[in-house]
């Protein structure tokens, strides 16, 4: 199949403008004739549902949470980028574009990234107008900080709860449309299949999580804004319910899955303490602005951190990267932490941690200054570990955080199935092989507020629609499929609970397809994952029934998909014989242990087509060309 990215011609800075002009518009009075189903209510989903309803489309929005406000975007801490150049420090749309393409290690589509940078300023304006309480200076102007990997101050923030405040803004915009009857909203409703009729997306099948009833929803377009798949690793910073089911089932209906192996490991998380751990907690990497990362110079040094004198500490990021220091990109910071721990310099009870030390900053600015900026993060650390980060350095270790991969989309954010649009973390589009800090919120809201409202109109205005309702045989067939899958999961009655098998999958993927990968490990994982999947279908126990609120059943559906996605992730990692961004293949590194790209062979998006469970997916390539940001070896020295 030909992968047409539909990137507009013309100079980079004119592409989006000319594209918007060339797109067909839907007549205002005809908009209400179109029904759009938006799945998920995070930043991308809420902003899309609200904005599309404001335009006059009929919108149905659903989420598996009990309220739209609980989507996982709410957990984002640090901030949101926009090149407003309020700090007068040389920022520009072009610089944000350039930083993002470079940070993504030249594996993103230039035109998409440029557009993202272009619309990001409007996001700040929109959120301010909604009443989002961004940090302000004493004159009342918006405050900025520099953030993970950026040398300019372009990050807008609301203490350590930026995601929460942005999501509440979008949720409130959505609530307004619900109250006006422009959005039909369903909570505790989970999409379990996509319905494609004559090659066009025509609806979804979803399960009401309270009474177990299966519902069909028919529409003219479906927008998936269902987040990332980091929980395939079981332990991640994602919320517990985050899953890949919506995108995976769409993949099985024909949507290509792009770059699944691009999974980001975040450097500043609270280390694992025991086998009972249910999730990992991230602490905003804004902490790296003022905290210093170090390990003892002596291997296996068991002294408490405050007894280790200054000259016996190795501030390894400052030593290795004098110009970026503790602010190197996430992948670099994570890998270096793994290396020092693997080499025996790790700290804490498990020796899989490094110190993040605020002592210098507290001496320089005082505790109150630190508390004002990072208070909630220090509280969080204390609640989880029982330790006081003001009195002793915090311990951190990398954890799975974000997935750059996702369903393949063209410039219009449409997948390979016509009428299926994918936004936010669920798509693959803007971050290449590594996402910069404070860029996820930016992308989610850019997609929802400022891109999909334009691009979906072009599809609706140009596609031909036959009248279809939920009585169509394709809906019946999809409903039956979901019911059969549910009965099958409930009928196995084996011995192993869902979470136990999920943890095992996570361990396999973390060990063989985690922060560092090699061919032997990946081949091993390609044996282990299918074997585990086979055991799941033989030995899982899902108590309870199909007809009521059953959280074990919800998890079983999601794990069934993770067990298939896990295999694709490994297949993708094995095929990409280079290192780039977060994808670090040990066989391909520079003399300085940095990721070594192979632009000759791998400057493309790997888009995988589903061919059946246990059957290798088929590879399609979208070649990437860089006319503006010329690929170079990333160097943060």
């Amino acid at each position: 199949m030909d992968l047409n990215s539909r990137t507009p011609d013309g100079p980079l800075e004119k592409k989006w403008d000319s594209h918007r002009f060339n797109e067909k518009l839907v007549n205002p009075s005809n908009k209400r004739k179109y029904h759009i189903i938006v799945v998920g209510t995070g930043l991308a989903g809420s902003s899309a549902a609200a904005s599309l309803a404001e335009l006059g489309y009929r919108v149905t929005s659903l989420c598996y949470h009990e309220s739209a406000r609980r989507a996982h975007s709410i957990s984002a801490q640090g901030g949101i980028n926009a090149p407003k150049n309020y700090a007068n420090d040389g920022d520009s749309v072009y610089r944000l574009f350039y930083d993002t393409v470079k940070g993504g290690d030249y594996r993103a589509r230039e035109a998409n990234v440029y557009r993202l940078a272009q619309v990001s300023g409007s996001i700040i304006d929109q959120c301010v107008a909604q009443g989002v309480p961004f940090a302000r200076d004493y004159a009342g102007y918006l405050d900025n900080r520099s953030f993970g990997g950026a040398q300019v101050s372009r990050t807008f923030y609301a203490r350590g709860q930026t995601g929460q405040q942005l999501l509440l803004g979008a949720y409130q915009a959505l609530s307004r449309q619900v109250s006006e009857g422009a959005v039909q909203f369903h909570d505790r409703m989970e999409m379990l299949d996509l319905v494609v009729i004559d090659g066009q997306t025509r609806g979804i099948v979803a399960r009401d999580l309270v009474d177990g009833k299966i519902h069909s929803l028919a529409g003219d377009a479906v927008v998936l804004a269902t987040g990332g798949y980091g929980n395939v690793f079981f332990l991640s910073t994602n919320a517990k319910m985050c899953n890949a089911t919506a995108i995976w089932r769409a993949h099985k209906r024909g949507a290509f899955f792009a770059n699944p192996c691009f999974t980001q490991i975040h450097p500043t998380c609270i280390p694992v303490s025991s086998g009972h751990q249910s999730k990992l907690t991230l602490m905003s990497e804004s902490l790296r602005n003022d905290g210093r990362i170090w390990v003892p110079k002596a291997k296996g040094d068991k002294r408490p951190p405050n007894e280790i004198p200054e000259n016996e500490r190795d501030y390894y990021l400052e030593r290795l990267y004098p110009s970026f220091g503790n602010l190197v990109p996430r992948d670099v910071a994570s890998r270096r932490a793994k290396e020092v721990c693997d080499a025996g310099y790790g700290v804490g009870p498990t020796r899989l941690a490094v110190y993040l030390d605020f002592a210098d900053t507290i001496r320089r600015h005082g505790k109150a200054w630190v508390d004002e900026k990072y208070g909630n993060l220090f509280d969080m650390y204390r609640q989880i570990t029982g330790e006081n980060g003001y009195e002793q350095p915090m311990r951190i270790y990398p954890a799975v955080h974000y997935t750059m991969g996702g369903l393949w989309v063209d410039y219009n954010l449409m997948s390979t199935v016509p009428g299926l649009f994918v936004l936010g973390e669920a798509n693959f589009s803007d971050h290449g092989a590594n996402r910069l800090g404070a860029s996820a919120l930016m992308q989610g809201l850019a997609d929802g507020y400022f891109i999909i409202p334009y691009t979906i109109g072009d599809y609706l205005a140009t596609a031909k629609f036959k009248p279809v309702d939920t009585s169509h045989a394709a809906f019946r067939q999809a409903e039956r499929g979901v019911e059969e899958l549910t009965s099958k999961l409930l009928s196995i009655r084996g011995k192993r609970p869902v979470d136990e098998i999920h943890k095992e999958l996570g361990t396999v993927l973390w060990n063989h397809c985690g922060m560092a990968r090699n061919a032997a490990g990946l081949k091993k994982a390609l044996e282990l994952v299918p074997e585990l999947r086979e055991r799941f279908w033989r030995d899982v126990i899902v108590p309870g029934g199909a007809g009521d609120f059953n959280q074990e059943l919800e998890k079983a559906h999601r794990l069934a998909d993770f067990l298939e996605l896990g295999e694709l992730l490994v297949q993708d990692a094995l095929h990409r014989e280079e290192s780039c961004g977060c994808h670090f293949r040990e066989e391909f590194q520079t003399e300085e242990n940095e990721a070594k790209r192979d632009d000759e062979k791998y400057s493309y998006v790997a888009a995988w087509e589903f061919k059946g469970v246990g059957v290798p997916a088929a590879l399609h390539k979208e070649a990437l060309t860089f006319e503006y940001a010329k690929p170079s070896q990333r160097s943060y020295k």
Partner: protein, 247 residues
């Protein structure tokens, strides 16, 4: 450590519920409270018994999903901490722990410890927003917000919508929840145009949902995981009077 749990089990909204006791050994003090419940559920699932339903998601104290009245206190014994951030080191070996759902007429039980808090969403739908459309917003710095106002608005906006304030109040009042949103938007210049209509509509919706009147005991503030101040209830009352007199 060993603990005895007395957990409220209820099949669905219509069924009658009751307490069931469970014994757990091998609880680690470093486990979170919800990881302790995960342990219980793994045991139950292995035996093929229905697991205890409870709401949870981010487990970082921000999504507002988790609830639970633990030994009579919403979100358990610690001040300013949601259930998901509570750890077993706050309990002793041999403790008995009673776990109940939020109890309020406006929060019907879905199953076991899970309640339906959509009444809070309907209050926001009634007016808890600024009616701005996508597009059309002026430059962010065109709207100046003095830092003290921005900070105070942030304190109110930090509400996670968990409903602990309602569960803590003997009248099951939602005044702190409503006060926090009314206060945030009344403090900011962006909220001025709809200031009066907003408070009238939100209070009317709160009453229609069956939440009680303010008990004036400040139990809500004491149990709020984000420690939102009852000052915002005072502002809500002022806003309401202002709207009624000057409308």
């Amino acid at each position: 450590m060993r603990v005895t749990l007395k957990v409220w089990r209820q099949k669905d909204r219509a069924s009658e519920g009751g307490f069931i006791s469970y014994q757990l050994s091998e609880v680690s003090p470093d486990m979170s409270f919800l990881e302790m419940l995960d342990l219980l559920n793994l045991d139950l699932a292995r035996k093929g018994e229905e697991t205890v339903a409870f709401d949870h998601d981010c487990r970082e104290g921000i999504c507002g999903s988790c609830s639970l009245v633990i030994n009579g206190r919403p979100h358990g014994p610690l001040r300013g901490v949601a259930t998901c951030q509570l750890h077993m080191r706050s309990f002793k070996d041999g403790d008995s722990i009673v776990i109940e759902p939020w109890r309020a007429a406006a929060f019907p039980i879905v199953k076991d410890l899970v309640v339906d808090r959509s009444a809070l969403d309907r209050i926001i739908e009634s007016g808890g927003f600024v009616s701005t459309r996508t597009g059309g917003a002026p430059d962010g710095n065109a709207i100046l917000v003095p830092k003290p106002k921005a900070d105070e608005a942030f304190e109110a906006a930090a509400c996670i919508g968990c409903g602990a304030c309602v569960a803590a109040c003997k009248n099951a009042s939602a005044m702190l929840f409503v006060g926090a949103k009314v206060s945030q938007l009344a403090l900011l210049p962006q909220g001025q145009a709809e200031r009066k209509a907003r408070v009238l509509r939100m209070v009317a919706q709160m009453e229609a949902e069956g939440f009680g009147a303010c008990s004036n005991t400040s139990a809500c503030e004491a149990e709020c995981p984000k420690e939102i101040s009852v000052d915002h209830i005072a502002r809500l009352n002022r806003e309401l009077i202002r709207a009624k007199i000057f409308s």
